[in-house]
């Protein structure tokens, strides 16, 4: 006896309900994830965007004999605490470089102290009432305003919040990643080529394979310990340098590049290899002329993602001494340097209110670079993807 349509429909209704429920649950999960992203980005933007603006005030600067000895004397007493000490410090030097300044009095826009900056941005600051009144008077006269903070991108770290910038960290990141790329890319790609195209399938290669996969899962701080033990203690690479940081991150990136390259090589169809062998290519010619060009977009994508991961890494660099107060841009690969995430970490530990926005501003820059790196990877993959 067969069931009627109505009976079957009644049973189906339960199943359809389950489907609907599952659909709503998954959409809810997606919504939560999206909400989290929005909150995260919103918070970062709200906190970090002010870092790209900095207060400047217009004051009268007297370039006199006394200011050469005591820079504070160059400005009027009422605005003295409002001007950045970092600016005042430079006055004697500037007078030495330009002797014609001596004896003149100029109205100049100068960098304000971070307390003024925070006051103008509406935060509670350490300004005393009298000083706050002065700031408000200046503001009313149009002599105090927030301007684009180019110093954030051109200066290194500083203990004075109004002077602190990411230049030294950005340069350090660039140099460190260059070392990482120069070491990890050739070694990783050649290792993968050997394992995928040349190595016989035996116990030894299987063991190597398992270990490479395990390496990718090792907590990154252990690579820092390894870097400290091997590169610094055994080989005497200067600590805190982009060289030692790059080498350490290369260890960490190697398994990522090897795995990505092997996947890319494996996705090249065997028919291409057979065709190449069939016309009399040697193994190396097959790899160089046919397999590698086809696998290259995949290899590049994997390497860029590996580099992006290395770029955001802080833990192993703490151990090799790259998380430190480094105000100057490193002039060579063996000088002390710091990297963006380490700079963020350093700022996050500063007690001053003004460093909160520096921290968020640094995060915004790091995020922007990471997103553009990943976007490059996607574009590369889309552009050079070939069909066969």
């Amino acid at each position: 006896m067969s069931q009627s349509f109505d009976e079957i429909s009644a049973q189906l209704r339960r199943r359809h309900r389950k489907t609907t429920r599952l659909k709503w649950m998954s959409m809810g999960a997606l919504g939560l994830a999206a909400l989290f992203l929005v909150v995260f980005f919103g918070d970062m933007l709200a906190k970090g965007l002010p870092a790209f603006q900095q207060a400047q005030i217009q004051v009268q600067v007297d370039y006199n004999e006394r200011a050469a000895e005591l820079p504070l004397a160059a400005v009027q007493e009422d605005v003295r605490p409002l001007v950045s000490r970092g600016y005042l410090r430079l006055i004697p030097g500037r007078m030495e470089d330009n002797p014609e300044l001596l004896g003149t009095t100029r109205k100049e826009w100068v960098l304000a102290d971070s307390a003024v900056d925070q006051y103008l941005k509406g935060h509670h600051t350490g300004l005393r009432d009298g000083q706050a009144a002065v700031v408000e008077r200046l503001q009313a006269d149009g002599r105090a305003e927030l301007r684009f903070n180019s110093g954030f991108f051109t200066r290194g770290d500083s203990k004075m919040a109004e002077l602190a910038g990411i230049a030294s960290a950005a340069m350090g990141t660039l140099m460190t990643l260059l070392v990482t790329l120069a070491v990890a890319f050739p070694i990783g790609v050649m290792t993968a080529v050997y394992l995928e195209e040349f190595a016989p399938d035996n116990r030894l290669t299987q063991l190597i394979e398992i270990n490479i996969n395990n390496l990718a899962a090792i907590p990154s701080i252990l690579f820092g310990l390894l870097g400290l033990a091997i590169f610094i203690n055994v080989f005497g690479v200067p600590r805190s340098s982009p060289l030692v940081g790059g080498l350490t991150l290369a260890l960490m990136t190697l398994p990522v590049i090897i795995i990505a390259t092997r996947t890319a090589l494996r996705s090249v169809p065997d028919s291409i290899r057979h065709a190449a062998f069939g016309v009399g290519c040697s193994r190396w010619q097959v790899v160089r002329d046919h397999v590698l060009p086809l696998a290259l977009p995949g290899i590049m994508t994997g390497s860029i993602i590996g580099l992006a991961q290395a770029m955001g890494e802080t833990a192993p660099l703490i151990i090799v001494g790259m998380v430190a107060f480094i105000p100057d841009v490193a002039a060579s690969f063996s000088e002390a340097a710091t990297v963006l995430p380490a700079q963020i970490f350093t700022w996050a530990g500063e007690p001053e209110r003004a460093f909160v926005e520096k921290t968020s501003g640094g995060i915004l820059v790091l995020l922007a670079v990471l997103i553009s790196l990943n976007a490059t990877a996607v574009v590369l993959r889309k552009t050079f993807e070939r069909r066969w």
Partner: protein, 282 residues
Amino acid sequence: MMNMPVSERSLGPAAGQGTGQPMVRNDNAQHELSVRVRDLNLWYGETQALKNIDIDVYQHNITALIGPSGCGKSTFLRCLNRMNDLIPGVSLQGLVEMDGRDVNEARMDEVALRRRVGMVFQKPNPFPKSIYDNIAYAPRMHDLVSRKVDVDELVERALRDAGLWEEVKDKLQEPGTSLSGGQQQRLCIARAIAVRPEVILMDEPSSALDPISTATIEDLMDKLKRQYTIITVTHNMQQAARVADYTAFFHLGELVEYNDTQTMFSNPATKKAEDYITGRYG
């Protein structure tokens, strides 16, 4: 007899149906020896895929290898240019002789062998390069040509010989993969003949193609046999009957019968071959 070096074993008419020489000679064809195979055994790991194969392949003929799936005909074909070397776990015994040399001997460079023994595969597999580079790649690699004009000439000649020139002469820089299936396969044939091999191995060259493209390929094979020795695997018995001068019937790793095609299809010497050809199995 087993203790004698395989290359010296005599093959009298009594050696059996799997003998190296065909039962009946095709009197219209030339009979210069191209490839001589004696007592060839091959194992994939523990499984024996070829058993005591003896066969003489003659120059400037088309020899078709037929038989049911898994009978070893493709495996045998790959022995002739050592493509089996690429498969892990293959072991091989016996003689495959070409131009007086055992192709499996230690001194033989498989790259040199594959220059003289070209191959066309079942699925068209042009390089993901331009049509021009598909042809020019191998001759350049082997240093047969280097000057641009010589390369141009060689590309044109190979494409003409493969009957593809008229169709592609205006789009030589387009990717080889943009051609139709049949054109791609002719491109692969042009690629194989560009290095002037002596033998061309074809592994079911038209099984992935439509009937019209298949007919074109068959015509082409017929033309090419004037210059090359062609050994082709085919699933299609009509095709073997149409194009081949000699036909070898494989079954379960053995060469059951090797005969000239006419005799094979009209009056096969063995029961197994007759059953297969008349469609009783396979």
